[in-house]
């Protein structure tokens, strides 16, 4: 597998980030993992029918979220972007409303978990159909450019498997033709449910395709939140300032099965996963912060407690909320009341 080697950083490269921002990145990573695991736990308890995991994506998503300008930029994510979504402003309570499919969820309990939507956060609604959201992101970027809204950009994310879809290609091509303010961020976790990268593409370095479209491409270690931040912030800044689109590829790994309905032991071994677990980005970043004196061991422990507490609170609060009712099924088909026969 043609991955860039994961390297444990000897020293901290801040890329201009403050201590506070470094701690925020770490907290987002911890919160993502806690909420992610909570979804699986609730499924095993029989409380929710389905959950999607994102373990292994924490560094990539927290780093990318730090490069996102809240209130200005637009995010067009996909269903594994729990950490990115909380990193740009969704609350744990909103995540749990989605997992529990409650009426107060942004989608009113209509969509699968992890299919967020929030105008407040600038997070575009999307479906489960892979790559279908990428032209939407391009359309939004076109609107920003058309309205001459300099200083704003769109961040669109997807997995490695999605790069096989026609709409991925069409979107990259259109964005390059029009030099749109958009960053295409591939979260390459090596697996598309059970299909490995080697059966998905002949050129395993996804970022290299950028040249074919006429845009810059860059690959980075997706287990490193600071390398991620560095690449994303440069690309987003270029997009915001009229420099056009970029294709980024963060190489990470999917530690969990695709979803609670998937048994990954049918296509990979426990050893495959445990080998990659050795590079787990969460303890790796924790060690870096402690060794660099950004956080003490006690502060890390307190933060973990705080994240657990916040997750528990969000879980209880969301679970206590009501489901949508049967009447809600008929709402928002079109604007206003609706009958197919007039």
């Amino acid at each position: 597998m043609a991955n860039i080697p994961t390297q444990v950083r000897k020293s901290l490269e801040r890329h201009g980030l403050s201590d506070e921002q470094l701690r925020t990145i770490f907290r987002t990573m911890l919160l993502q993992r806690q909420l992610d695991n909570r979804g699986f736990q609730l499924n095993r308890q029989g409380k929710v029918p389905f959950a999607l995991g994102s373990e292994g994506h924490e560094a990539l998503q927290a780093g990318a979220a730090m490069a996102f300008n809240r209130g200005k930029d637009i995010l067009a994510p996909y269903y594994r972007d729990l950490g990115l979504s909380i990193g740009i402003g969704l609350t744990p309570y909103e995540i749990m409303l989605s997992i529990f499919a409650r009426a107060a969820d942004h989608n009113g309990g209509r969509q699968f978990p992890n299919h967020y939507s929030s105008k407040r956060a600038g997070l575009m609604s999307f479906s489960s159909i892979l790559a279908a959201h990428i032209p939407h992101a391009v359309g939004a970027a076109y609107a920003l450019k058309y309205r001459k809204e300099a200083g704003r950009a769109v961040l669109v994310t997807f997995g490695d498997g999605t790069t096989s879809e026609g709409e991925w290609h069409e979107s990259m091509n259109f964005a390059a033709v029009h030099k749109l303010p958009i960053v295409f961020l591939c979260e390459n976790n090596q697996w598309a449910i059970s299909t490995p990268l080697s059966l998905q593409m002949g050129q395993p370095n996804i970022y290299k395709r950028a040249e074919g479209y006429g845009m810059p491409g860059e690959q980075f270690d997706g287990f490193d939140p600071l390398a991620t931040y560095d690449a994303c912030s440069r690309a987003m800044e270029r997009a915001r300032n009229g420099g056009g689109p970029t294709l980024l590829e963060g190489v990470c790994y999917r530690f969990l099965a695709h979803s609670t309905d998937d048994n990954d032991l049918t296509y990979r071994t426990r050893e495959d996963v445990s080998e990659r677990r050795k590079d787990d980005p969460v303890p790796r970043f924790e060690n870096l912060l402690v060794e660099s004196g950004i956080m003490t061991g006690e502060q890390v422990a307190a933060m973990k407690q705080d994240v657990l507490h916040e997750t528990n609170e969000a879980t209880d609060k969301a679970e206590a909320m009501p489901f949508p009712t049967a009447d809600d099924l008929y709402k928002h088909v079109y604007e206003g009341a609706w009958e197919p026969w007039q």
């Binding site: 969820d105 609604s125 479906s127 359309g139 939004a140 076109y142 609107a143 604007e335």
Partner: protein
């Protein structure tokens, strides 16, 4: 024969579409047009001729040949506040964008519980009778009319084209706007000046009659009128209803007419199986079976993939005023 007056002008359907798009671009800078060859070529039927000179390449967007993203990018524009009018060069090319229309545009409002919406128009020329062969002649309405969240408009007269296209552009939800390409230059009519809207979902009685209700849309409305006029000379009275919209559909107009004439003939160019006529038949059977004096009849294309390029194949697929007149006579005499 259409006559221009001080408050109207005579346009064909191409000119009606063009004039309406022009006004929309003039009145609202959120309106953009995107599609294949809509810029310097001015669309293959010259509907957008010279628009790019006046409105610029940012608003009249010549896209790469990529139908899925023509619609998909329009969806994103609409979600972000623009009013895109996407063009699919021929309806036959709409299939690659099927998911973007059915899975995305039609479900944006619903899946986000009303938080995001998708106000956009997808215009496309459809229909046969022009030697368009397999891939420049299809009717696509039945593929989409099953889909809640979409509206589908099929106007046949220039004045309806204008009023319904204005309604489609103003609509807060996605509208598929089907233009029968044989009517483009064949059909002329008076079009009122100024901005006006015809509500989507309202049919129009194009000819009143008492012995048979004919429900149709598209090119076949014109042929049905020709046949009905011929029958009038033979002393038979046929009512012709132009649906104008197939989703939503005007139940009130259909039932009112059927309860008056007590006979229903549905005519469409699309094939019969699972077509628009099937839904109308079922609705009338549910609502007005005991008001009928004859079985409902559908005159529609045979169940083959498409009309062929060779003239006999096209003629065998298409109906004609003569075939329609035959069906009408049988129904009236039943």
């Amino acid at each position: 024969m259409a006559v221009a007056t001080s408050s109207s002008q005579v346009l064909n359907n191409v000119e009606a579409v063009r004039a309406t798009l022009y006004e929309a671009l003039k009145n609202d800078d959120k309106v953009v047009i995107l599609g294949e060859d809509v810029g310097s070529r001015g669309n293959v039927f010259l509907i957008t001729k010279d628009f790019v000179k006046e409105f610029g390449t940012e608003r009249i967007i010549d896209t790469p040949i990529a139908e899925a993203s023509i619609v998909g990018i329009a969806v994103g524009m609409a979600m972000e506040g623009l009013r895109p009018i996407a063009e699919i060069q021929f309806a036959d090319f709409i299939y690659p964008s099927f998911n973007q229309i059915v899975g995305e545009a039609a479900k944006t409002r619903y899946r986000s519980n009303g938080e995001y919406t998708c106000p956009m128009v997808i215009r496309t020329p459809y229909g046969g009778g022009v030697r368009g062969a397999l891939s420049h002649s299809v009717s696509v309405e039945a593929l989409f009319y099953h889909v809640p969240g979409l509206k589908i408009v099929v106007p046949s007269f220039p004045a309806d084209v204008k009023g319904l296209l204005n309604a489609a552009i103003d609509d807060p939800d996605p509208v598929l706007f089907l233009e029968h390409k044989k009517t483009y230059r064949l059909i002329k009519g008076e079009v009122p000046d100024g901005h006006y809207v015809i509500p989507i979902g309202k049919a129009d009685v194009k000819k009143e009659g008492s012995q048979l209700s004919v429900v149709s849309y598209g090119l076949y409305v014109h042929w049905a009128l020709e046949a009905a006029n011929q029958l009038e000379n033979e002393g038979m009275s046929v009512e012709v209803i132009d649906l104008r919209s197939v989703r939503p559909m005007d139940r009130t107009a259909i039932l009112q007419s059927v309860r008056k004439t007590r006979k229903l003939l549905i005519i469409h160019e699309d094939n019969k199986f699972g077509g628009i006529g099937a839904e109308i038949s079922a609705m009338v059977a549910e609502e007005a079976l005991f008001d009928l004096d004859a079985p409902i009849r559908r005159l529609a294309a045979p169940d083959v993939p498409a009309m062929g390029y060779a003239m006999p194949l096209e003629e065998a697929y298409m109906s004609s005023p003569a075939k329609m007149a035959d069906a009408m006579r049988e129904m009236v005499k039943f």
